[in-house]
Every structure is written in C-alpha cells, then in structure tokens.
C-alpha cells in the first residue's frame, strides 16, 4: 500500500458505510418521505467521501476536476429528484407516516 | 460504358439509392411523389445494370471500407442475390407507383420514407455477406414492416402490428444469439470464412437451431405463422403486397444462405425432414384456412402461409433441381402475391370492403382487377404457363427423382387446395347482379399496376430458362447433390 492508500481506503470504506446505511433506510423506513430522507442525506455524504477518497488517488488534476464535477452533478440531481418525488407524492396525497 | 457497367459496384447503389430516397422524401414532402418515382425507377435500372455485370463477369464481392473479411464487412452479389434483388426492384417499383394512387396525400407522406427504408433494408439484406450485418438489416426490415403494418391506424391493424413486432423481435434475438455462438466459436462473421471454419459442435448445433427457429418465425413457418395472417390482412394493400411478396422471403433467404453455405453439414439430416414436415403442415393448414376465409385479404394472407410451406420443402429435398424450383417459386410468388394484394386493394378502394360473397357487386365493374387476381391465382396454384407451374414442376421432379414421392403428393394436393380458394373468389365474380353500392373510381394506374405484376408472374413461366440460368451465377449450388 502506498501512503496515499492509507488516506484513501478509510475514506472509501466510510463512504461505503454511509451508502449501506442509506440503503438500509430505503428498505426499512415506512414511507416515501422518510425513505428519501435516509437516502439523500446519507448518499450525499457517502458519495462525498468516496469522491474524496478517489481524489487522493487521482493521477492528474484533470481527473480530480472530473470527479468533483461528478460529485456536484449528483448532488444537484439527487436533491432535485428528491424534491420532485416528494412533491409528486404530496400531490398524489400520500400521507406521512405517523406512529 | 460497358466497362463501367461491368466493374461498377451496383449493389452499393441498390442500398444507397433507397436510403437517399427515404431521406429526400422526408426532407421535401412537396415533391415526394416525384422523388419516390425516380428512386423506384433508379432501383430498377440499377438492378438491370447489376444483372448485366453479373451475367458478363460472374459473381463479385465488395469489401466495404476496403478492409475485407474477416475485419470488415463484405457485400456479396451472385445469382441468388440477383434473383431476390430483381424481385424487390420490380415489386418495389409497382408498389411505389400503386401507393401514389392508393394513399391520400397525408398517408403517402408518412408511407414513402418508411417504404424506402424497407427497400433499402431488403437490398442490404440480399447483398450482405456478414451474419451480424444481416442482423442489422433484419431489424431494419422488421421494424419498417411493422411500422407500415400499423400505418392504417385501425384497431385490427394496430393489434396485428404489435403481434408482428413481438414475433419479429423474438426472431431476430434468437438469430442474434445464434450469431453470438458462431462468432465465439469460429471468430468470424463472414459467410465465406465461416464456410471454411464451421464444424460440428454443440455450439454450432445450438446456433443452427436458434437461427433456424428465429428465421422460421420471421418467415411464418407453421406453427410460427400466427402473426402473419392478421398483419398481412389488415395492413394497407400496397404494404401487404410488399410484406407477402418480399419481406417474408428476406428471412427465408438468410436461411437458404445459411443452409447452402455455412452449414452444409445440415443437409439430409433430421432437421431437414423436420422442416419439410412443418412445411407440409403449413401447406394444408394455410390452404384450409384460406378456404374458410370470408375476406379476400385474409384469404390471400393464408395463401402466403401455405406458400411458405412450399418453400421449406427444399430442405428435405436438397437437390439442385429442388433449389431451382424453390428459388423460382420465391420469384414467381413475389410477383403473384403482390399482384393479388394490389388487386384486393383495388377492390377495397372501390367498394370499401373485401367480403368475398359480395363480389358479384364488384368484379363486373373492375374487369382488369379481376383479371389481375385470376392471373396471379393461376401462378399461385401452379397452373401453366404461370411461374408457379415451373416451380411446381421442378419440385415434383426433385421429389420423384430422389424417391421421396410424399413431398410431391403434398405439393400437388396443395395446389388443388390453392385452386379451390382462388376459384372460390373468381367464381363469385362472374355472377351477375344489378345491386350497386356506393363506390369510388379506382385510378387506372392502380388497375394497370396490379395487372402488370400479374402478367409478369404468368409470363415468367415462359421465360423460365433465364432466371434459372441466373441462379447459377457464382456457383452457389456447387456443394449440392445433382439428384
């Protein structure tokens, strides 16, 4: 393992952990709103961590740029889509889960 | 001049011209009909030029991109492709002319670009020497055919088109999986190279099975014919003419090529007998359904199911004479069936329906259309001098020579059934009546087109020696037993 790996691997592993947590939330949470809540939050962080891990390992600044670009795009898309799904659900009258 | 004709790659022109025609009809709708006529005419001329080249200098290959097989794709033109290309050009020209009269302007503008893509796909298919390229051409053909079937927008047409689409999809997927197995077994997609490399192995057998089934489905071999009758019966008449006349033969052509060139080991093995048996079932099932049909176009469509059955008799017979017979049948059936559908189109155009029992009110008014139908019928039932007679003769000869008289019996009985359903229609049209319905005047050009095709199919029997000689260009039957 190179020195950079010592930084990258923890980042990647924790990123994956966040993804796993998000996915668990998607599967386990009771309604669309809570599921989205779990998914977007944890995935955004997870992706950030993974991108950070990959940036450490990147060969050139060009690749770093591309990775950051991807991160931004996914943030934008994820946030917007979550908003759209929620809006759609509310329009359709899906009720929020209450205990 | 002569050098140009004998060296120019006319096959390429046959592909590019209709593609260009499709684009130009789409781009300039105002002059689309003139563009269409010129494109169709250019196709006929190019086929003639190709014929001259092939007859004078023999078959040729064209290396696309200059790479040559196995890396690149090669076009391959020999007598077999010439035959199919000629049928495509002639039927294509007739249908183009006919469609200009048949369709109202709005529909014509939708029809023409798709129609020329279909012609291009057919030409590409008949010229291709590469099994994957054939897949692309096959998909182009299938999609265009389905789109044209759905064109009239009626309930029956849409449902039929959907069925047709699924059938053609499954057919091409099955074919493609066969291609995959072949490629990964022998490392090439080119017919010639495969012909040298192919040897029996589980993958080869699977590939042969997959490709045969897929193509049989697209050719509508019994019992995989379920999609054909509704599709051909409910498509607009000129489309039906092209579907029955040409499209069905495209997939069969690939099957022929595969059996003749790539899998010669497949000869005289059980699959051949099996396909032949299915062919016999198709002959009788199609024939009986045609007899039962109460609507003309459905009758003609079932007649196609029946004729497809005849095609498959070549596999158990598999002698040169049998190949000649079936190829001649392909040609004459293309002309005759197209003529029949165009005649049916005239009747529908005239009377707004195609119920056979009510023909006494129609046929008296459309003698030329009736003549076209009857002449094409003569060809279909294999009576002289129609082209079908020569085909039947050769196939009966082949089966008697090889001692397999039962195929001959099926052929002859089938032609009796064909006679029965043709005359069921013709018989009704001689009866006299004074009752008239509200009718439209059929443009003369439409009547003449149908009649011309029908005449061609009948006169084909008198000049049979030419196409029979063309088939030999390129020596495609070199590996086939003489008798």
């Amino acid at each position: 393992m190179t020195p950079s790996d010592y930084i990258a691997v923890p980042l990647l592993v924790s990123g994956v952990m966040f993804f796993l947590a998000g996915s668990a939330g998607l599967l386990r949470f009771p309604d669309v709103y809570t599921r989205l809540h779990a998914l977007t939050k944890s995935d955004n962080v997870g992706l950030g961590l993974i991108v950070a891990g990959l940036v450490v390992e990147a060969d050139s600044w060009f690749v770093v740029g591309k990775l950051l670009f991807i991160w931004l795009l996914v943030l934008l898309a994820g946030a917007s889509v979550a908003n759209l799904i929620t809006k759609g659900a509310m329009q359709r009258g899906t009720r929020m889960w209450t205990r | 001049m002569e050098v140009i004709i004998t060296t120019f790659p006319w096959g390429v022109v046959l592909i590019l011209v209709p593609l260009f025609g499709a684009l130009s009809c789409f781009m300039w709708p105002n002059v689309a009909r003139y563009l269409a006529l010129s494109t169709a005419f250019a196709l006929v001329m190019s086929v003639i030029a190709l014929a001259v080249r092939l007859i004078t200098t023999g078959s040729y290959r064209h290396e696309i991109g200059g790479w040559g097989a196995p890396l690149g794709i090669e076009l391959f033109a020999d007598g077999l492709s010439l035959l199919m290309l000629a049928a495509t050009a002639v039927v294509g020209f007739a249908v183009t002319v006919y469609s200009i009269g048949y369709f109202p302007n709005r529909q014509l503008l939708r029809f023409l670009p798709i129609w020329f893509l279909l012609l291009a796909a057919l030409n590409a298919l008949f010229l291709s020497g590469d099994i994957f390229n054939l897949y692309v051409a096959l998909e182009l053909t299938g999609l265009a055919a389905v789109a044209l079937t759905a064109m009239s927008g009626g309930r029956a047409a849409l449902i039929a088109a959907m069925r047709y689409l699924f059938a053609t999809l499954v057919g091409s997927m099955s074919y493609l999986l066969g291609v995959v197995l072949i490629y990964h077994s022998f490392g090439s997609l080119d017919f010639m190279i495969l012909a040298e490399r192919v040897e029996a192995s589980p993958a080869t057998w699977s590939a042969l099975g997959l490709m045969s089934i897929g193509l049989a489905l697209k050719t509508a071999l019994f019992p995989l014919h379920f999609w054909l009758p509704p599709a051909h019966a409910s498509a607009p008449a000129p489309v039906s003419a092209a579907l029955s006349g040409l499209v069905v033969k495209a997939s069969f052509y690939i099957l022929l090529r595969l059996w003749l060139e790539v899998f010669p080991a497949g000869h005289s093995l059980i699959p051949g007998e099996f396909l032949g048996a299915l062919g016999v079932c198709a002959i009788f099932w199609g024939g009986l359904q045609a007899l039962r049909a109460t609507r003309l176009k459905l009758l003609i469509a079932y007649s196609t199911v029946m004729q497809v059955g005849y095609f498959f008799l070549v596999f158990p017979l598999a002698t040169v004479v049998a190949w000649h017979g079936v190829l001649f049948l392909l040609l004459s059936h293309a002309l005759a069936k197209a003529a029949m559908f165009l005649a049916a189109g005239n009747i529908i155009y005239f009377a707004g329906h195609d119920r056979i029992v009510d023909f006494d009110r129609i046929a008296q008014q459309l003698p030329m259309t009736l003549a076209a139908f009857a002449l094409a019928g003569v060809c279909i039932m294999g009576l002289p001098p129609g082209g079908g007679f020569i085909a039947k003769w050769l196939m009966v000869q082949a089966s008697l020579e090889s001692g397999q008289w039962w195929w001959a019996a099926a052929l002859i009985l089938g032609s009796l059934v064909a006679a029965a359903y043709v005359f069921k229609v013709v018989g009704h049209s001689f009866t006299q009546t004074t009752v008239r319905e509200k009718t439209n005047v059929v443009p003369v050009l439409m009547e003449w087109t149908a009649l011309a095709l029908a005449l061609a199919s009948v006169l084909l029997g008198l000049v049979a020696s030419w196409p029979l000689a063309w088939m030999e260009i390129g020596g495609v039957f070199a590996g086939v037993p003489a008798r």
Partner: protein, 322 residues
Amino acid sequence: MDTLNLAQWVFDSLTGTGLLWLAWMALASPQLIRAIVIFVAFGLLMALTWVRLDAVDIALAEVAIGAGLTGALLLAALAKLTAAQTEISKSDHRPRDGRAVRALRQLPAVLMFLVAAGLVYSVLSLPPVSSGLSVEVDANLGTSGVENPVTAVLLNFRGYDTLLEIFVLLLALLGVWSLGGLPPQRVAPAGPVLHTLAVVLTPVLILLAAYFLWAGVKGPGGAFQAGATLGAAGVLLQLAGWRPGPGFARVHWRLILVAGPALFILVALFTIVAGRHLLEYAPEHAGTLILLLESGATLSIGLTLAGLFFGERPDDGYDNDN
C-alpha cells in the same frame, strides 16, 4: 485461490445473481411502476457489469440509453397510459382459462428449460480461449484514424453496420410519427426546482455530449453516448415543460434529424464516386472523416431520441389530420 480472486468471484456471483433477480422482479412484480423502476435498476447493474467486463464504452451507452432513456421512455409511456385513462389490467394472467389452457401454460416453461439446458451446454463447450478479431483490429488500428478500438470498429471497420443502424433510429422516429397523435396530457407545472435543474443541466449536458464525442477518438465514448446525452437534455427540457411549438419539424429541424444519416450517405457516395470501396477512407483523412460523421450522428441521435420521447409528430404543416 488468493483473496483478490475470491473477492472477484464473490462480486461476480453477486452481480450475476442480482441481474437475474432484478430481471425476474421486473417481469414478475405485480405493479407496473415497480416493474419499471426495477428495470431501471437492472439497467444500472448491467452497466456495472459492463465495466466489470472491461466494456466501458458499452457501460456508458447502457447508462445513457439502456437504463436512462429507456427508463424515461417507459415511465413516460406509463404516465400517458394513465392519462389515457385506460383500463390497465391488474393481473397479467388472463382470467378465463380452461384446464387445457392451463396445462398448455406449462409448456413454455418446459420448453424454456430445455432450450436453457441446450444453451448452457453449448456455452460451456466453447473453447476457453478465442482471440476473435482482436488481432486484426490491433493490426489495423493505426490506419483507422482513431485510437479507441471500439470507435474504430464502429465507424471504420464496420462503419456500414453503423450506417444502417442510424437509419434504424430514424426509422423508429418515422414509425412513431406515422402512428398519429397521442391523447392530450395533463402536464403538471414544472415548478421552480425542475425549472432550475433544466436550466442548469441542459448546457452541462450539451458540453458533456461534446466531451464524449471528442473523447471517443481516444477512449470510451463516441457518437452514441454523446447523442444519448443530447437526447437526455431534450428529455429534461420536455419534463420542465418545454414543448416543440409549430415549426419544430420544419425544414431546419428535419435537417438536423437527417444530418447524421445524410452525412453518412454523402461520404459513402463520395468514396464510391472516387473509385474506392464503399466507406473506404484514406488513412490520412480517416480521423477527420470519422469525427465529421460522428458529429452529424450525435446531433441526429440526440434529436431523434428526444423526438422519440415526445412520442408524436410535432406540427409541421405536412401532417395535419385535417
């Protein structure tokens, strides 16, 4: 077996099982919307598989076209079905089946099992090593005008396939147009978020398309990926509420639609008239010609895909129903 291989094996098995499971779910789940969502997930897993199989070009195409656009098309179709207020059958099995029919229903399963057995046997019997055409491709890559072997095959060695394929795409659009109009839809107002997303993403997507086009010469990418990205931009615009107004299909739009195919035909004609073989480029011009062809194709593919998503012929004065 060392750890890396074990990890690979576990990964492969999981992916493979996942693919089969997702496919089964997509085809068996009772709700259509679920089926479509699962199908999109299936597409994404396919993309991952392509990367695993060293087919990055295909992975890109799969994400953009296979999962992305197809998913959008499927969802849009489902929405329109609901809009048409048709009776969507809840059950996939027809209700009135006699015993014979039910017995017959077992037939496909049996048949499938047999076919599957034969195919598995055939695949297992294939030689373990086969170079295919990779040797020939490598040997001629230098004169092909590009460095990415997949692009070389697509646009040069087997450029003729691509020529026909571009026409398949155009044909699909023509076919869709020939089917006539669709039911009028209740379009939800786009809202500020979607609007902003469209405004921000459209130029990004166009840029991205240009990048794919350019990158395809050297590495993964090319006209199809680029065209699909453009198409995605078109889909996004439509989702944000933009509709092709009258004149959408007037000449200049149609010009873009046919640009790719027409360029191909022109190049083909040119090579023939110049006495070469069809689509035979001189090595020194090959790179330029390929880029030209790809640029035209990208535009056409993008517009065609967007048009397929729209689903009916925009009013161009030539195809009015009255």
